[in-house]
Symmetry: C2
Subunit: 228 residues, 2 copies
């Protein structure tokens, strides 16, 4: 095998790939922030913007997939470079799903904005911040091949799960207190669930980064726990 | 580029890949069936079996990923063969997530089996059957490169979404009727949501099959709709 790292064209392709993945990551982070702002500020116009922006994320996925295939076909990478490309192919799917989840949150927010707010949404924006932070860190870990950062993401997931459970139980209490709360509390439950799932995608990315760097698969140390 | 199809070793690798993917598909189908049986037959021992079996699915994911990388490194496939391998890398992730969702259903079933049943679970097993069928058809479409079958999966998704919405609204009515139903109805809502999401994974697989065969990306014709 030739040493691919000496190949300038290959290096340029990898730089392009990293930049495109970071751009896609920044885009989905923005969608998370905007979908939550649509909820907290009761801004349905912003929610519609999130729904419309999903197609940009999808376009980025298609572009990055094509770029990965181009690199595989033209550069025939081996060993760690091959792992980098196959990992990128999987990560891009996680990022696209995160975009879908932000859209789902925006859609629920539009529903919720039709009725008076149920309660101050204190913990849900906090959960969104945590999820967004996990997404950013996991992607930073990927582009810099930083295992320590990936492991920080792995540790951070428990915090998200705990906060989801807290929100879930609070919403359950609201529902039991007054049946008029049920519809809104259910919508908020799904929003919290979407945020927790965004965190799971970041976790997936972090696990793949550890594998990519160490060549050892640490995925699936245990089954994911569903809070409740 | 050499014609890879004349290469017997390459053909053997591809056969191996198809067989492994089908085995993984059969495994996750079984987990869907068992997780639902755990619910309808109130069989928590079976639910525990599903939770324990998840590690087999995870092992299969790791094996198939390795096989794909081996094929990429040794055979350096081009054009449609390259698309086949990169698609397999993505599909295996969908299958693994389907396994996770079956585990989530099994976990919720164990909770539900602690209390008297809320109501006959007529539509939920029907939703599970539809989801399972979509998974099988999408994977069959992949291994046989059958676009017509993939398109059948794409059309079938509306049925799942409609049934999910029906179940969701029925459960909402139960909750409003009696606050003692809320906890159980919420758990059933999440089970229905997991089944609908299993259907989404089958949809993803089907979209990738169309792309793989036609070389044209039909993913993301519109945003996924969240029922409610």
């Amino acid at each position: 095998m030739p040493s691919m790292h000496t190949d300038k064209a290959f290096e340029a392709d990898l730089r392009d790939l990293r930049e495109k993945l970071l751009a896609m990551g920044a885009k989905v982070e923005t969608l998370i922030v905007q979908s939550m702002k649509a909820l907290t500020d009761r801004d349905s116009a912003l929610a519609e913007k999130v729904v419309a922006a999903d197609k940009d994320v999808n376009r980025l996925e298609v572009d990055i997939d094509e770029l990965c295939r181009k690199i595989l076909a033209l550069r025939q990478p081996a060993a760690s470079d091959l792992r980098l490309i196959t990992t990128a192919l999987k990560i891009v799917t996680d990022l696209e799903r995160i975009g879908d989840l932000a859209v789902n949150i925006a859609e629920r927010s539009m529903d919720l904005n039709q009725a008076p707010p149920l309660a101050p949404y204190v913990d849900t924006p906090r959960l969104a911040e945590l999820a967004q932070r996990q997404v950013r860190m996991s992607l930073d870990a990927f582009v810099s091949g930083d295992v320590a950062k990936a492991e920080e993401v792995l540790r951070g997931d428990d915090l998200l799960d705990a906060l989801f459970l807290k929100i879930f139980n609070e919403l359950l209490a609201y529902m039991m207190e007054d049946s008029r709360n049920i519809r809104r509390a259910t919508a908020l439950m799904f929003i919290a669930k979407h945020l927790e799932r965004i965190g799971d995608h970041a976790l997936n990315v972090a696990e793949m980064v550890v594998y990519m760097v160490r060549g050892k698969d640490i995925r699936h140390p245990q089954s994911r726990n569903l809070a409740e």
